[in-house]
């Protein structure tokens, strides 16, 4: 366990139970998932039962208990993107990366996910890699986008 890394995150907060979600978000950002041993320490430090942490960690989609890839690909399948062919973009990505939705590639480079709405319906279909948006994405654009991260 990387204790200094966890201590850095915990030192930003006052150690109250309501700091749980921000702490988990920081751990998720830093580790790309929520490691079990770290959650045990968080439970002791924030005085929140491990059961409660497990409940929160499994409830929100942004948290993951298994390691995620270096880059996270989110394809929007909201109403507009769905109608504009978001499904085809997912299929193409899944085919090119060789993973199903929700899984991570073997080389731990990419995690493929679908989301409800990314809030940019005007640019449908939208996909996101890490923090960057790719609007009006098409099956043809998929290899070009992936190339930027390989």
């Amino acid at each position: 366990m990387d204790l200094p890394r966890l201590e850095t995150i915990l030192s930003r907060y006052e150690g109250e139970s309501w700091d749980l979600i921000p702490v988990l978000q920081d751990i998720q950002d830093s580790y790309s998932y929520l490691p079990k041993d770290e959650l045990q320490v968080v439970s002791e430090r924030l005085n929140v039962p491990l059961t409660q942490i497990y409940s929160v960690a499994t409830f929100f989609k942004m948290f993951s208990l298994i390691p995620k890839g270096k880059h996270q690909i989110k394809v929007c399948l909201g109403t507009t993107c769905h109608l504009k062919g978001g499904g085809r973009v997912v299929e193409s990505l899944s085919h090119r990366l060789g993973v199903e939705v929700g899984y991570t590639t073997k080389d731990m480079q990419f995690t493929l996910e679908t989301v409800g709405c990314l809030g940019s319906c005007a640019q449908a279909p939208v996909m996101m890699v890490d923090d960057k948006y790719y609007g009006r994405s098409t099956v043809d654009k998929v290899p070009k986008i992936l190339k930027l991260y390989k």
């Binding site: 039962p49 491990l50 059961t51 409660q52 942490i53 497990y54 499994t58 409830f59």
Partner: protein, 252 residues
């Protein structure tokens, strides 16, 4: 370590007496008492599945819904989590309420078609079959959360919790592993209204949530009392030597 639910939802601060109307009958009750408790205290029966008087209400089952306000500005609320207030007008069995309850029962019947409790309650409301799809015909858990709350509030250890979100929500131990917090008391299995929590006692060993607990025999009569681990937990709370608890309540 006791995880306390926020005070706003617990209604543990009752205010002054207020006047309200339930089914047209004027009633007096302390302010901030839940509508469910108020109605039951005055003889109006409201069906519930997730309510227990010793546990904080969470409004999980939605069976206790009542209609508040006056026509046409009425609202359906959970009576177990809604506080009394001056002049409130409440209907416990209006057409709107009964319709809401029937839908809740229909959904529950689709989730747990084999649960006897749900079948009986549904039949009492005139619901015999469900329009909704059944995912798992063997499912018995209604996700009322009584076990989770009992473990947290009454036992005070919090060994189980809800995992995930619907439709995959379930009661589970952290990481689906053996929970180190569990003391093997079996309170969760006792409180479960549909008897879905697996629990066995065989040759002096109690198995619950995947863990085996050695049962302590009474030093006088030899009958099994409780898991040794649980008695050690009691000893830790009370500060008494653990041997104090090795005599069952009949032999004391």
């Amino acid at each position: 370590m006791v995880w306390k639910i926020s005070d706003e939802t617990a209604f543990d601060t009752l205010g002054e007496e207020v006047r309200l109307t339930i089914n047209g009958i004027p009633i007096r009750a302390p302010q901030n008492q839940s509508l469910l408790v108020t109605a039951r205290a005055n003889g109006f029966e409201i069906p519930t599945l997730c309510y227990h008087r010793d546990l904080p209400s969470e409004g999980q089952c939605r069976l206790c819904v009542v209609e508040i306000g006056e026509h046409p500005h009425t609202q359906i609320v959970n009576s177990c989590t809604y506080p009394t207030s001056p002049g409130l007008v409440v209907q416990t069995h209006s057409e709107k309420v009964m319709q809401a309850r029937r839908i809740v029962l229909e959904l529950l019947l689709a989730r747990t078609p084999k649960a006897k409790l749900i079948q009986e309650l549904a039949a009492a409301h005139g619901v015999y079959e469900s329009r909704f799809k059944t995912d798992d015909p063997e499912e018995l858990c209604i996700l009322c959360g009584l076990c989770v709350r009992t473990c947290r509030e009454v036992v005070g250890v919090s060994a189980i919790s809800m995992k995930g979100r619907t439709p995959d929500k379930q009661v589970a131990t952290p990481f689906l592993e053996k929970s180190p917090a569990c003391i093997g008391c079996g309170s969760c299995a006792f409180i479960c209204p549909t008897n879905v929590i697996p629990y066995t006692e065989k040759n002096g060993v109690r198995t619950i949530w995947g863990r085996d607990f050695e049962l302590q025999a009474c030093t006088v009569c030899g009958n099994y009392i409780e898991p040794k681990y649980q008695l050690e937990h009691w000893a830790k709370i009370t500060g008494d030597p653990v041997e104090t608890f090795f005599v069952c309540k009949d032999c004391r």
